[in-house]
Amino acid sequence: MDGLFAVLIYTGVLVGFVITNLILTHIIGPTKKTAVKQMPYESGMDPVGDARQPFDVKFYLVAILFLIFDVELLFMYPWAVAAYKGDGGVPAELSSTVYGVMLVFFGTLAIAYIYAWRKGVFKWR
């Protein structure tokens, strides 16, 4: 647990650093608000409409795919550590079972991947 305690201290230092920086620049720097400076930057044109418009559904698809693959990755980490560790890992008599299970796992993953591909999720137009 020592290690995580050190992470906690480090986190505190970082938060302090960020806050100090933000406050320092706020105090030291000049503040002169003008109407033009307060406008959103749009290459010198007067801004047209709001920037928060609906965007392409592709981004949602990528986010969902990411979720699937990331969860699958999280499953792989403990397996990768334990699979060939020897002592304290997967026992020798279970080794081939685990190997078979992982093959099935990769197979289902491949099916999901091919399905997404044929559905055209990876197409960017």
Partner: protein, 390 residues
């Protein structure tokens, strides 16, 4: 928790944090001089001797300039954006060993958080959080360039997260540990031939490419490409908040280079001068220098790549991740686990990597699978090609 541990931790944090800051400041100078050299111009050479004081001048200027917060932004999120970006990038460094951990002097350690056995998972957790800094900053700015930039960045970072994590699995299978120091020691035991780069060349390639994309470096910096999006997600940021984004980016690069050096190039291990059992006077220092040299070389490589390779198109970028890197990484895991399961000799691993690489190249260039999928048809959308192609 003893006071001694607390004190040693504070000293280590001081050394690491100071070193990180100084390195970032001078890396920016090095990058600017390098860019100038490659583009046949001078670069910053006025402040101090040959521009050596430039980082200090830059820092002072960042503090002294006006901190503009435009009127249309969501103020809380606008301030939170760069804070999260720099915080997550720096926090990742907590478990990275920057020297031989078990030979450290008594008053400091060579890693901020010792014995964290989930090392790699911690780095990926914190690294994934980094995307929030970009999304929040871009969305809160309420600026069209920023919005487009942050959307691109989120899709890109999220996509490249997967090959990045997958490429590590092969290395973890080889060493059966997630702790960076264990992985390092596992390689150091066998000398230069034990480096993971020999057994996992494909994993190194995937890791490095994904890391470039994760850090938004140039061949993949679609989120802030100047020609289309002005500044991308940090268009509306000024003074210190802008600097925080940059600090974050460079801290991310340094962490990634440390990871590459430790995971694939044996960390502080080098033949003859820095072996696992070398115990001559000053061996610790030599090991630190060797590790830092490796890291610096990788950073220089990244910089050369930035000023050499032109930017990708966005569909190419996404295809590279989803149709290229992810299947390759999965196949690489399959090869490594099969080799481990059936005790294949060690030389089958690089051969497997090579086979996957060549097969992927052949399939990719044959034009049967990817290119035919990518017919660009502008006629479909009602507004024609004038609508925003994100």
């Amino acid at each position: 928790m003893s006071w001694e541990f607390f004190l040693v931790t504070l000293i280590t944090i001081g050394v690491a944090f100071g070193g990180l800051m100084g390195t970032i400041a001078y890396l920016i100078l090095v990058e600017r001089r390098l860019a100038a050299f490659i583009q046949d111009r001078y670069g910053p050479n006025r402040v101090g001797w040959a521009g050596l004081l430039q980082p200090i001048a830059d820092g002072a200027k960042f503090l002294l300039k006006e901190d503009v917060i435009p009127g249309y932004v969501n103020k809380t999120l606008y301030i939170l954006g760069p804070s999260i970006a720099v915080f997550t990038a720096m926090a990742g460094f907590a478990i990275v060993p920057f020297g031989p951990v078990d030979q450290a002097p008594s008053w400091m350690r060579f890693v901020i958080a010792p014995d964290v056995n989930i090392g790699m998972i911690y780095i990926f957790c914190v690294g994934s959080l980094g995307v929030y800094g970009v999304i929040l900053g871009g969305w809160a700015s309420n600026n069209k360039y920023s919005s487009l930039g942050s959307m691109r960045a989120s899709a890109q970072v999220v996509s490249y997260e997967i090959p990045l994590g997958m490429s590590i699995i092969g290395v973890v299978l080889m060493t059966s540990s997630l702790s960076l120091n264990d992985i390092l020691m596992h390689q150091a035991k066998f000398g230069i031939l034990g480096w993971n780069v020999w057994t996992q060349p494909l994993a190194l390639l995937i890791f490095f490419v994904s890391a470039l994309a994760e850090t938004n470096r140039l061949p993949f910096d679609l989120s802030e490409c100047e020609q289309e999006l002005v500044g991308g997600f940090h268009t509306e940021y000024s003074s210190m908040k802008f600097a925080l984004y940059f600090l974050g980016e460079y801290a991310h690069i340094i962490t990634v280079c440390f990871l590459t050096a430790i995971l694939f190039f044996g960390g502080w291990q080098f033949p003859l001068i820095a072996e696992a059992d070398s115990a001559y006077l000053g061996a610790t220092l030599v090991k630190v220098v060797v590790l830092l040299t490796k890291v610096l070389l990788i950073i220089l490589l990244i910089m050369f790549i930035r000023w050499t390779i032109p930017r990708f198109r966005f569909d190419q970028l996404m295809n590279l991740a989803w149709l290229g890197l992810i299947p390759m990484a999965a196949l690489n895991i399959l090869v490594v686990m099969t080799a481990k399961q059936f005790d294949w000799p060690i030389w089958t691993l690089p051969l497997g990597s090579l086979a996957i690489f060549v097969a992927a190249g052949l399939i990719g260039t044959s034009g049967k699978f990817i290119v035919s999928d990518q017919t660009v048809d502008f006629g479909e959308s009602p507004e024609g090609y004038a609508h925003v192609h994100s």
